[in-house]
């Protein structure tokens, strides 16, 4: 595999931002290989499909950035970047039921995605030159989507989504250097945001089954994030009025959101 466009993500601040960077004279294309194997089978008579997949991927000349890099509107971005080895591996399990009153699917995956600096920058190396988590490393992810038909006209559905929190780099202390107080940070991506969890529920109404109708209308009434969990979208740190460093997280849709759908099928 060869890839000539690179994603560089800035996770600082309240609004994380992605920068795309093309390969050029300073930035080599990412190369890599991947192996995957899977097994699939159907349980006869139950309408249940099962699958399991394993994968392993290695890459080189991926991009990460030096500590303290400024990625926004930086004309010399390549000076802030470091080439990295990448490795990712995991297993994905899935069960799917397509017949009967109860239909839906459930999946679970365990995955790791890590970087390691390619060059030897000595004491300046990120994570002392060892493997470290990428900012999109989320080892555990589980999803359930189910629909139960109460009658031909009414059904209820539910979605549950869980994943490990995203890795972050956090301030861990302060120190004085060159006459001023500065922040000391953890190793890159060595901490995590709180785990993500969301549960949605809905009632589906299918009022008519007229074969000769030009279009077919269904209604859905539901609640998004029914538990009202405050999932972290981003994390940032700032000093309060007492001079104490405090951590904050931005949570989007941090409460129950009711909704109604009208679906028109032709």
């Amino acid at each position: 595999m060869r890839q000539y466009i690179h994603l560089v993500s800035n996770n600082a601040g309240i609004s994380p931002m992605d920068t795309w960077k093309l390969s050029d004279g300073n930035i080599a294309p990412t190369t890599g290989w991947q192996a995957a194997a899977g097994a699939y089978w159907t349980l006869l008579g139950s309408g249940v499909d099962l699958s399991a997949e394993l994968y392993y991927k290695r890459s080189r000349n991926g991009l990460d950035f030096k500590p303290g890099a400024i990625l926004t509107m930086n004309e010399n971005l390549h000076k802030e970047l470091i080439p990295v080895y990448g490795r990712s591996y995991g297993v994905e399990l899935m069960a799917k039921k397509t017949t009967g009153k109860l239909t839906g699917w459930a999946s679970y995956s365990y995955s790791k995605a890590q970087f390691k600096e390619m060059g030897d920058r000595g004491y300046a190396a990120v994570a002392a030159g060892n493997w470290y988590n990428t900012s999109f490393d989320k080892p555990h992810e589980a999803k359930i989507s189910a629909n139960y038909a109460l009658t031909h006209r009414y059904s209820v559905s539910m979605n549950a989504d869980y994943s490990t929190g995203r890795p972050v780099t956090v301030p861990v202390g302060v120190y004085i250097t060159k006459g001023a107080v500065h922040m000391a940070y953890s190793e890159r991506n060595s901490y995590r945001l709180p785990d993500y969890f969301r549960l949605d529920a809905a009632i589906n109404i299918d009022p008519g089954h007229y074969k000769k109708s030009l279009f077919h209308t269904t209604f859905t009434v539901g609640v998004y994030n029914i538990t009202g969990r405050k999932n972290a979208y981003s994390a940032f740190f700032k000093t309060d009025e007492k001079g104490q460093m405090k951590g904050y997280m931005l949570s989007v849709f941090a409460t129950q959101i009711p909704y109604a759908n009208i679906n028109i099928l032709f």
């Binding site: 996770n11 600082a12 500590p67 303290g68 301030p171 000391a184 700032k238």
Partner: protein
């Protein structure tokens, strides 16, 4: 459609909130060392050793300078300079500039060291000039360097100023006459003050071929006591390697751009100090080893507030505010109705840290 999108965005904004985030951290102990070294070949070297303060111990922290370390500066040819007393100030005036050096700190049985560094030759300051603006005086320098595109500027100041409430002339509000007070006892009212700045300003002239012209690096208010009698400035400059410039810039960006769109990605400035016995031990700070040059300049006479009421022989009582504009304030009211005036912003110099004798600059090499 636009309205629908607006509603969706408004809903997302309304349902988005910022909440406290409590992440327990235990990366570093309060024993984590911060070694801040500025080794000046041909000058005076200073090393500060302190400790990092974990965030969860900020409220109970009681200070953390390290007083009992042994600081050694050694060259690759065997020259050794040592100090084991806080503050760690070492005279390295006699250190030859054609050798590589490193700094080591011995503390609690461990050795912390910088890499061997060959000091870059110092840039040359070609001029230091003062520019007067209505409200302040700006100090600029011109310099050139053949060795690097980055420099650090530091400066010390010595100035002479009035003491508190000394009268130098009297103004009669009845008629507006101004008369100088003959031979006021100025001996105890004039002091000297010296200020040594540890902060360094960064200078990037990598894109101008190592030449910088009239770079403003300091300023003070026109009503400042520096404007009164005499003001001298000692400007020091030294070259920075790319790596050291990056360290300084990292610190500056983290301070100046915090919580902005241009926030640097969180991460520690890349130190160049390692613990030899345990390379995995985290150490903070940076050791710079460099040569420096300096330049002394004195403020031009035209910027001082006149200490005599020269040019002022009469001010219309209705226009007494002109005295304020000229930099004076009333300091006492006499029984005959006259008012004694003096320069604004005077202090009791001795009680405020001033000295009656003129201090000297710590010029590289001076004991």
């Amino acid at each position: 459609m636009k309205r629908l999108l607006s509603y969706i965005l408004a809903l997302a904004a309304a349902a988005s909130c910022v909440y406290p985030l409590d992440i327990k951290t235990d990366d570093y102990s309060e024993e984590t060392l911060v070694i801040d070294g500025s080794v000046i070949i041909g000058g005076t070297s200073r090393v500060t050793i302190s400790r990092l303060v974990p965030l969860d111990q900020l409220s109970s922290y009681s200070g953390g300078y390290v007083y009992n370390a042994l600081v050694t500066i050694e060259s690759d040819k065997g020259d050794v300079f040592k100090d084991d007393t806080y503050p760690y100030t070492i005279n390295t005036y006699s250190a030859p500039s054609d050798r590589s050096y490193r700094l080591t700190v011995s503390y609690k049985g461990k050795i912390y060291s910088s890499p061997w560094i060959k000091p870059l030759p110092a840039p040359t300051i070609t001029d230091v000039e003062f520019t007067g603006e209505p409200d302040r005086v700006t100090i600029s320098l011109s310099a050139k360097s053949d060795a690097a595109g980055y420099s650090a500027i530091q400066y010390d100041e010595i100035w002479k100023f009035h003491a508190e409430y000394v009268r130098i002339f009297e103004f009669n509000p009845i008629g507006g006459a101004i008369s100088a007070i003959q031979d006021p006892d100025m001996s105890r009212y004039v002091c000297w003050r010296k200020k040594v700045r540890e902060e360094e300003s960064l200078l990037d002239y990598s894109s101008t071929g190592g030449v910088v012209d009239s770079f403003p690096f300091a300023h003070f208010s026109r009503t400042n006591e520096r404007n009164q009698y005499e003001y001298n400035i000692l400007v020091r400059i030294r070259n920075l390697s790319d790596e050291e410039y990056r360290y300084f810039k990292h610190l500056a960006d983290g301070t100046n751009n915090a919580s902005t769109l241009f926030s640097p990605d969180p991460g520690n400035a890349e130190t160049n100090i390692v613990c030899e016995s345990d390379p995995s031990e985290k150490v903070f700070g940076y050791v710079s080893i460099s040569s420096q040059s300096y330049y002394i300049a004195t403020l031009d006479d035209k910027y001082y507030i006149p200490t005599e009421p020269s040019g002022l022989t009469h001010v219309d009582p209705e226009d007494y505010w002109k005295l304020y504009n000229a930099g004076y304030v009333p300091v006492n009211y006499n029984s005959d109705g006259t008012i004694g005036w003096g320069s604004a912003r005077c202090y009791n110099c001795v009680s405020d840290g001033g000295t009656l004798t003129k201090p000297s600059f710590d010029i590289p090499g001076a004991e």
